[in-house]
């Protein structure tokens, strides 16, 4: 899309314009800023109209006021009307020092310095206290109310994040999640002049969703160049994406069993996750699918003999997996731990803009593979797995359904990979254009927005991991729950820390 064709809205009415899009069935897919000149930050909002398979985009230039002063650039915040924007507006404030006026809980998202040293609304960056958790937290006061701080160093081998619980006895009144410990400046690294290096960065934004991120990244860059990939490489991308989904869903269901101390399924599903990872290994030599996708196609073909071998192994794995999942979902002691824990309503999920299996478990019918079909999913529709109760059980059931459907998809396509070449180098990029790519990673919608400059070079890439939408959902789900149920609730979401921190 030509940058000049993006409608520009004055900053005063930007928020109300975007919020009005919600009334037309829009979902806030992304909201980000880009510095276009010394004084100007351009905000972009991308609305996804899922039922119409359409995206809307608009922008607004926020300028440093001529009068200057201490206030800095500002615009009315949209969070009070649409909480889905809360983390994204904090990100803009942190990166560019742009103040969203009226944001109800304006504090650092990752705690790092802004791009040109403009002070953030909460004050300039202070390297002396540059630890993300070192700030004020929401507090509940009162006798018998106590505070529990968990992390950033955890007991398990997991990523760092700080969780602050306000508890009354065993009951959690409020949970605040502070991330940012893994901020690596990934968006700057994505601008590496060598596109191959840039793709490696995209794959590592959330390591367990390498294929999902690479799919969205490649789609954005190919769109910018106006290139189309062959059907064969689209099919291989789809196969890799579903294998990744299988490995993660199976692994997480096993981890849920570990958390409730149900040993047989925990051990068995853990082993099966390894088997699925090994299938990806067979395709491209890496268990997480690194270096498989590049703009223009895929770097590894699946020859017919190999596809047949994969299909045979998948058939055996399908039997085993479904059997173990049947055992897991027939154990009353396991179900008793899942049901009614960490409940989110459909309204809440919609309000905060959740995506992926966590949103589908609340009854929101959204799945990029169906709503905005791309690649191989234009030819093969995977039904959306939806549950309505919004608890840990619903999230587990959605994942189980997706496991079944991904297996069916894989068995169908592995026996029938379309012919064609696997890689054709994309041509030159269109000058002054914007393009984006989305994909349904196993956590939900990943999105890459790419801009080219007048000379047709890559000028700016904005990455989004679905976790940034869903972390707030985890905090909400814990309200009124027992603190001892936090681990199983957390595992049912299993969000990415690195993907959030970029």
């Amino acid at each position: 899309m030509d940058i000049a064709a993006i409608p520009s809205i004055p900053p005063e009415t930007f928020a109300s314009h975007v919020v009005a899009g919600r009334g037309r069935g829009g979902r806030l897919a992304h909201l980000f800023g880009r510095r276009v000149s010394v004084d100007t930050v351009r905000l972009y909002a991308l609305l996804a109209c899922d039922s119409a398979s359409r995206f809307e985009v608009c922008s607004s230039d926020v300028q440093r006021t001529a009068s200057g002063g201490t206030s800095g650039p500002a615009y009315p915040s949209m969070t009070p009307h649409w909480p889905a924007a809360q983390a994204l507006e904090r990100e803009i404030a942190e990166q560019f020092g742009v103040h969203p006026l009226g944001h109800p809980w304006l504090k650092p998202l990752r705690y790092h310095a802004s791009d040109d040293g403009t002070p953030a609304p909460w004050g300039p960056f202070d390297p002396a206290r540059a630890i993300p958790g070192n700030c004020e937290f929401y507090r509940v006061e009162g006798e018998e109310v106590h505070e529990v701080a968990v992390g950033p160093v955890h007991a398990g081998v997991i990523e760092p994040g700080h969780f602050r619980f306000q508890c009354h006895g065993e009951e959690v009144l409020h949970l605040e999640i502070m991330l940012g410990y893994q901020h690596r400046g990934a968006e700057r690294l994505l601008l590496h002049p060598n596109a191959a290096r840039s793709a490696i960065v995209a794959e590592t934004i959330a390591g367990d969703a390498s294929i999902g991120h690479a799919t969205a990244y490649c789609a954005a860059l190919e769109a910018l160049a106006g290139a189309k990939v062959s059907l064969r490489s689209a099919a291989i991308r789809g196969i890799a994406l579903e294998l990744e989904r299988l490995a993660n869903h199976v692994g997480d269901l096993g981890a849920l069993c570990t958390d409730v101390a149900f040993l047989p399924c925990s051990a068995y599903l853990g082993r099966l996750r390894g088997e699925y990872l090994n299938l990806t290994l067979e395709i491209c030599g890496n268990r997480f699918g690194r270096n498989l996708l590049r703009p223009g196609g895929v770097r590894f073909d699946i020859p017919a003999a190999s596809a047949e071998r994969l299909r045979k192994r998948l058939e055996a794995l399908q039997r085993e997996t479904l059997e173990v999942l049947d055992l897991m979902f027939s154990q009353s002691s396991v179900l008793a731990r899942f049901e009614g824990v960490g409940v989110l309503t459909e309204e809440q999920a919609d309000e905060i803009g959740m995506v992926g299996p966590a949103a589908r478990a609340c009854g929101c019918r959204r799945d990029v593979r169906c709503d905005h079909p791309h690649g191989i999913f234009q030819f093969s529709h995977i039904p959306i797995a939806v549950e309505t109760t919004g608890d840990v059980y619903a999230r587990a059931v959605v994942r189980r359904l997706e496991v079944q459907r991904s297996l069916e998809f894989l068995l169908e396509w592995l026996g029938n990979i379309p012919s064609g070449n696997t890689f054709s180098r994309p041509g030159a990029m269109k000058p002054s254009a914007m393009a984006f790519g989305v994909s349904e990673t196993w956590r939900g919608e990943a999105m890459y927005v790419a801009f080219s400059d007048e000379a047709g070079r890559l000028a700016f890439v904005k990455a989004k991991d679905p976790s940034i939408h869903n972390w707030f959902g985890l905090a909400l789900a814990l309200r009124g729950m027992a603190i001892s149920d936090f681990p199983v609730c957390n595992k049912s979401f299993n969000l990415s820390y690195a993907g959030h921190d970029l």
Binding site: V150, A261, S333, A482
Partner: protein, 311 residues
């Protein structure tokens, strides 16, 4: 006979001291078998203890002598209770009328000091664990005491070694249903007090869900060795009481009695391993229901035996 008994007491005491970690090893091995793994060696708990004993301990500046006293007092209380409890033979090393009350309170003393040393750290985790431990402790105590009352009535004795001794063999014929209920109650008490699934999960790494393990997070080195060994000893103590009640031996000679008990203890550990492998842990707020169930079982047993003795 008494000379032989006195001579046998020395190896018996040594056996009792050496046995507890092996039981933990059996549980872990059973669970590993269910999970399709090889599991750690049978003697791994001994290696762990040796490793911990050779390490130094780290003490936080906020802690006082209470923190250091916790593991020592707990272990001392459990060792004292072990002398009063019949474990591999049908008699205890020491015994006197009314010692059953001492045993119950020694267990409570150990718990109190573990809880106090947890609170001494001032950590919110350990406070949470202490609160859970005390809550569930107070709920399992009625079941334990009611069970002991039933046994006291059935054997007309207040000395633990007699209450669970050969006299019980006859009492099974007279008051079988009541004692069967007591066995059920004692099994739940055993799982609760020794922090096994479905009440607690000794294998978890999730602090927020732990009960016992979270209380001892700050202990290290020899202190932690004492705690680990104490937990295993507690399992041996309560497990022995359960076995003596469930399967009383009618005064067999020691060379039959003791080896049989050892086999039974190993089977009990394996059974606990099977329970841990075949069900998920209860939600924390459901645990009181389980303990109330144990208390009801024991109360029912008391009603049965009281009405039985009057008629």
């Amino acid at each position: 006979m008494t000379v032989f008994r006195a001579l046998a007491a020395v190896p018996e005491a040594a056996l009792v001291l050496a046995l507890p970690p092996l039981l933990l090893g059996i549980i872990v091995k059973t669970k590993a078998w269910f999970a399709g793994r090889v599991g750690p060696p049978w003697l791994q708990p001994y290696y762990d203890l040796r490793k911990l004993l050779r390490k130094g301990a780290v003490y936080s500046r906020t802690t006082t002598w209470v923190f250091r006293a916790g593991p020592v007092v707990n272990l001392a209380a459990l060792l004292t209770a072990a002398t009063l409890t019949p474990i591999v033979s049908s008699s205890s090393l020491v015994g006197f009328a009314g010692d059953v009350i001492l045993v119950a309170y020694l267990l409570a003393l150990g718990r109190m000091f573990t809880v106090l040393s947890a609170m001494d750290t001032g950590s919110s985790f350990e406070g949470m664990g202490a609160s859970r431990e005390v809550t569930f402790g107070t709920m399992s105590e009625p079941a334990l005491f009611l069970s002991l009352i039933v046994l006291a009535i059935a054997t007309k004795s207040l000395q633990l070694s007699e209450m669970v001794g050969p006299q019980l063999y006859g009492a099974w014929h007279a008051a079988g249903p009541a004692i069967l209920l007591v066995v059920g109650a004692l099994l739940i008490v055993l799982l609760t007090e020794t922090c096994r699934v479905p009440v607690d999960d000794p294998a978890t790494h999730l602090e927020l869900t732990m009960i016992h393990e979270v209380m001892v997070l700050d202990h290290s080195g020899p202190d932690f060795a004492f705690i680990t060994y104490g937990a295993a000893l507690k399992f041996l103590l309560l497990g022995s009481i359960l076995l003596h009640v469930a399967l009383p031996h009618p005064g067999w000679p020691l060379w039959v009695d003791a080896p049989l008990r050892l086999v039974e203890l190993a089977v009990l550990a394996a059974v606990v391993g099977v329970i841990e492998s075949s069900m998920a842990r209860l939600r924390l707020n459901r645990v009181p229901l389980l303990l109330a169930g144990a208390t009801v079982l024991a109360a029912l047993a008391a009603v049965l035996i009281l009405t039985g003795s009057t008629s």
